[in-house]
Amino acid sequence: MSAVPAQGYLILALILFCIGLFGALTKRNTIIVLISIELMLNAVNLNLVAFSKYGIHPNITGQVFSLFSITIAAAEAAVGIAILLALYRNRRSVQINEMDTLKH
C-alpha cells in the first residue's frame, strides 16, 4: 500500500478538474480554453487510475477506460482546433468572447 491514501488522488483530481473548469470558463483565448478542457479530462483520468489502483474493487478496467478517454480527448481536441482554424480564417480572431453573433 502506498503512503498516499486514495483520497489524496481524488482530491488532487478534483482540484485539477476545478482548475480546468475555471480556465475553460474564464480564459479569453480559445486555445487556452481547449487546453483547460484537456486538463479536466485528465483530472478524470487521474480519478480512473486512482480508483483502478486504490478503489474498493481495484481492477484494470479503470486504466482501460482512461486509455479510451485519452484517445477520445485527443480526437476532440483535434476537431476543436480544426474548427478554430476555420473560424480564424473567417474572423481573424481566436478570442472566445468575440464569438457572439448568435445570441438571444
Partner: protein
Amino acid sequence: MISFAWLIPLFPLISFMVLILSGKKLKNASGYLAILLTGISFLLTIGVLLDLRTITEFEVIWPWLTVGEIEFQAGALINPLNGLMLFVVSFVSLLIHIYSLGYMGEDDRKSSYFAYLSLFTFAMLGLVMSPNLLQFYMFWELVGLGSFLLIGFYLYKESAKKAARKAFIMTRIGDAGLLIGLILLFWQTKTLSFLEIFQAIEQQKLAPGMITLIAILLFIGAVGKSGQFPLHTWLPDAMEGPTPVSALIHAATMVAAGVYLVAATYPLFLASEWALIIVSVIGAFTAIFAATIGLVQDDLKRVLAYSTVSQLGYMMLALGAGGYVAGVFHLTTHAFFKALLFLAAGSVIFALKNQHIKQIAGSGKHLAVTKWTFLIGTLAISGFPLLSGSFSKEAIFAALLEDGQYGLLAVALFTAFLTSVYMFRLYFLVFHGKGEDKPERTVPLCMNGPMVILAVFAVIAGFFGSQLADWLAGGQGSFAVLHHSPTWLIFLATLVSLGGIVLAYYIYLRKQINQEEWKETFSSTYTILYNKYFIDEFYENTILYSTRAISYLIFYIEKYVVETAMAFVSGTIKAIGTRGSRLQTGQVQTYGTVALLGLAAIVLFFVVKGGYM
C-alpha cells in the same frame, strides 16, 4: 259548447299569425279579418256562458312538459269567474277591434296593429282560462308582450319607446315576484293546478308563514300588472299607445288581470290574514294616491290612466277586505265604463288631434255622441246613483264595513269624492266652455257604435250585482257573498259622489272658485301632485342610478381586475421569456457557467439534503 272552450283563444291567435306573416298584403282587409276571428271567439264565449248555467266547472288538460316524474300541464279551466272574465275580455276586445277600424283607419301599419291586438286578445283569453298557475304565468307574460308592443306602436316616437320599455320592465319586476311565489308554491304542494292548490290549502298542508309569503309574492305580481303602488308608474306612461289600446289593455282587461289573479287564488289569500291586510292597504293607498294625482293632470288620457290606477286600487281594497264579489263586480263595471271613457277620449283625440285638456278646452262639445257617452261614463265612475259604478262601489264600501275596516272605508269614501271631482273636471273642461277648435274630422259610425254599446252596459251592468254573486258562488264557494250596504252608507256614498260633482261644477264650469288662487296657495302641494309625487324621479335617482352604478362598478372590475390579472399572467410569461433570452448572451462561457452553477446548486442541494453540511 263548453267542451270547445279551449278553442276560444285560438281564433285571435290565428288572426295574429296570419296578419304578422302576410299582413302587408292584406292591407285594409286585415282589420276585418281580425274582427271576424275575434267575433267568433265572442260567439263561442256566449255559448260557453250559456252552458255554464248548468255546469259549474269544466276542466280540460293536456300534458305540456314532463320533468322526470313531474308533469306540467296546459289546458282550459272554465268556472264562473273565468267565464265572466272571458265574456268581459272577448266582448270589450271585439268592440275595440271594431272601434280601431275607424281610429287606426289611416295608419300605414294597420295590419301590425291588428296583429298585436289579436295577440293580446289571444293572450288575455288564454290567461283567464288557465287551469294552473304556470299557464297563467305564461299568458300573463304574453299579455305583457301585447301591451308592450301596442304601447310602443308609434315606435318612431321616443316617448313611446320609453313608455313601452318601462311598461315591460315594471311589470316584469312584479312578474319576478309572481314567479318566485309560484315556484315556492310548487315545491310546497307539488302542483300548480288551481284546484289542487286549493285542496292542499284546505287540508292545511302549508305552514301559515309560507302561505303568507306566497300570497304576498303572488300579490307583487298583481301589483306590477295592475299598476298598484309602488309599481304604478308605467301605467300612465302607457298612454303613449293608441287610445283603443289604452281602453282595452290599460283600462278594461290586462290591468285588471292583477285583480283577477288575486281573485283566482283567493283561497290562498283568505288563508292568510296578513296577506289580506297588505292587499287592502296597498289597494287603499293606491286608490287615494292616484286620485290625488289625477286631480291636476292636464293630459286627457293621463287623467283617465290615474283614474284607472285608482279604481284598480279600489278592487284590491275590496278583495283585501273580503269583498270577493265586490271586487270582481267592480272589475266588471269598471271594464265597461272605463273602456267607454277611453273610447270617448279616443274619439276626441281622433277628431281634434290633441289631448291636452287646456288646449282643447270645450271643443269636445262639437262631438255629440262622444259628449253624451263620456258623460255617462263619467257619471258611472263617479258613482252617480243607479249607474253601474254606484252599485259596485257600494258593494266595496259594504265589504269594508263588514270587515270592520273603518279607516279604509273613510279612505275609500274620500277617494270616491276625489274621483267625482277629477272626472267632472275632465268632463267640464273638455266638453263645456268656449270650444274654439273645430273637429278636423268626423267620428265614423264604427267608432260611435262601440261607444254607445258600452254606454248601455255602463248604465245597466250595475243591476246584476246579486245575480253575479249567485253566479260566482256556484263555482267558488263560501266567500262569494255580495255585501249590502246599510242605507246610511248608500246615502253617504251618494252624497260624496254628488258633492264631488258639485265642487267640480263650481270650480271648472262656473269658475266661482278660482283654481289659480288655489294653485298659488297650495303651490307646493300642487307641484308635488303635478309631478306625481316625484315617484319617477325618485326611482330614477335611486334604483336606476344605483343599477347604473353597479354596472359601472362591475365594468371597472372587468376592466381593471379581470383584465389586469390576465395582463399580469401574460406579462409574467413574457418577462420570463425576456429574461431567459437575455441570459442567452451568445458567450459560450456564460453557457458553461450556467451549467456549472446548475450542477453546483444540485450538488449543494443533495449535500444539504443528505445532511453532510
